[in-house]
């Protein structure tokens, strides 16, 4: 690995100052499970690595049913699923953070880091999109908020400008009758990057029979994780049935523009979108009823 300097600021302002000063050569370290590999393999370079785990705001994890979830950018996957209340309220997010790497990875990897790494195949981003999560960004010019849906701009690229830092993610409170799920397809049962992934959030009517609102987001089938708008909108008012789930899966395929690579062909990935959307819809509806 090429030599770099290390800083572990304890104040957000200091972090932003250091980030700004270092310019192009600064890299943020949260869980490190992506950035350390990238630095080692020469995929990214750094003059300065800024460890943000000592900044209180970034490690804050607060859940209150009425206000929703405040998820500091460097909170580990492990802390999310270890909290039974959070896992129960946001099961789609819990699904994702339980399968990011093995346990050793989950002890360190953060959802914020997963977002900032902006991989098309990121597991945690599709659930965030389905919850309409907001990304809270701080930078030299102040703070602003971006919907997670708009955060990623390409493979490994996102809206963060030089000197800016993701501080937290906020997820809205979950109304009763809502449910969510995330599934990815991988050839093994663990320790793989998604060939394709689908997250679903649904709101059912009081009888649990009809879908009032739904949001579907996909991973690994486009340059960024994508929101499947047409499929999501079409589901409003539809009965929660296998036929409907399958149709939604067909509609979701329309936003898939995958590539062929060693993890799968474009055709296979597109096909998997249909299968995974159908399956996650079934799981999310089941969860919405309980």
């Amino acid at each position: 690995m090429i030599e770099f300097e290390y800083a572990a600021p304890t104040q957000l302002d200091d972090a932003i100052k250091q980030l700004t000063a270092a310019g192009d050569g600064a890299r943020v370290l949260a869980g490190g499970t992506d950035i350390i590999v990238q630095l080692r393999e020469g995929l990214r370079s750094a003059d300065l690595v800024i460890d943000v785990k000592k900044i209180p705001e970034l490690t804050q994890l607060e859940f209150c049913g009425e206000q929703g979830l405040h998820l500091g950018a460097s909170v580990s996957c492990r802390r999310i699923y270890d909290d039974e209340n959070i896992a129960a309220a946001y099961p789609g997010l819990a699904d994702a953070v339980r399968i990011i790497g093995g346990w050793q990875i989950q002890s360190r990897a953060s959802v914020g880091g997963n977002l900032c790494n902006s991989s098309p195949a990121a597991d945690a981003i599709p659930p965030l999109i389905t919850y309409s999560a907001q990304a809270h960004i701080a930078g030299p010019t102040g703070r602003h908020v971006v919907p997670v849906e708009e955060f990623c701009t390409g493979p490994g690229r996102n809206v963060l400008q030089q000197g800016e830092l993701l501080v937290a993610l906020t997820l809205p409170p979950q109304p009763s009758g809502s449910g969510s799920a995330y599934q990815r397809f991988i050839p093994r049962n663990e320790m793989d990057i998604a060939v394709a992934g689908a997250a679903v959030w649904v709101q059912l009517d009081k009888r649990g029979e009809r879908i009032e609102r739904a949001r579907i987001a996909l991973s690994a089938v486009a340059p960024t994780p994508v929101f499947a708008a047409e499929a999501s909108e079409w589901l409003s008012g539809q009965p929660a049935s296998e036929e409907v789930f399958a149709k939604a899966g067909e509609l979701a395929k329309r936003v898939a523009t995958p590539i062929d690579d060693m993890r799968g062909t474009a055709e296979y990935r597109t096909h998997l979108v249909g299968v995974l959307t159908k399956r996650t819809l079934a799981t999310a509806c089941e969860r919405a009823r309980t």
Partner: protein
């Protein structure tokens, strides 16, 4: 430029100097001679370098050593105490849960963390919990069984997984025993 880092490793205070680019794995092995954790892939995919960092299992190849400032670290060298093997170590030996042994330290650290979180895991919970550790020799069968056996020991079921005397000289006569 080297950074000074103060940590607690296997219960003792340890200070070291390192470059920011050095991983915790590198420092444990090369600077501190704690060579029990192994490098198999150096990118978080094999689990051979698993250590406990502040109570959680991590791939030490994916931790910068400078991040360990103020941290509590446990390695495989800290699992046995004063000549007494931990039940997991004993069960790995008795159950022949190792062949070449390179993945064994990582498995032991991860399995210990697993049992501390879930003292009576099902077979599937063990398999899920240890999916971050690769073994190419055993086919995992005997590893899973050794963890199951360790969970059945009285020591494992008491808080803190206290130690029991090592039984290294014992020959296990388990003809056709289902192990």
């Amino acid at each position: 430029m080297k950074t000074h880092v103060t940590t607690t490793i296997n219960g003792g205070s340890v200070e070291f100097l390192c470059q920011p680019r050095q991983s915790l794995l590198e420092v444990l092995r090369d600077e501190l001679s704690l060579t029990g954790c192994k490098e198999g892939c150096n990118n978080g995919n094999c689990g051979a370098c698993t250590v406990m960092l502040d109570g959680l299992p991590v791939n030490s190849c994916l931790v910068l050593a400078v991040e360990a400032e103020g941290a509590v670290i446990e390695t495989v060298e800290g699992i046995a105490e004063q000549g007494h093997l931990h039940p997991l170590q004993q069960c790995f030996l008795e159950g022949a849960a190792l062949q070449c042994g390179i993945c064994t330290p990582g498995f032991l650290v991860a399995a210990k963390a697993l049992l501390e979180k879930n003292p009576q895991p099902s077979e599937q919970e063990i398999r899920f919990g240890l999916a971050g550790n690769l073994c190419r020799c055993t086919g995992y069968d005997k590893i899973v069984r050794a963890v199951q056996a360790a969970a059945q020991t009285p020591e494992a079921q008491s808080p803190g997984l206290s130690k029991r005397p090592g039984l290294l000289s014992r020959t296990t006569q388990t003809e056709a025993k289902s192990l």
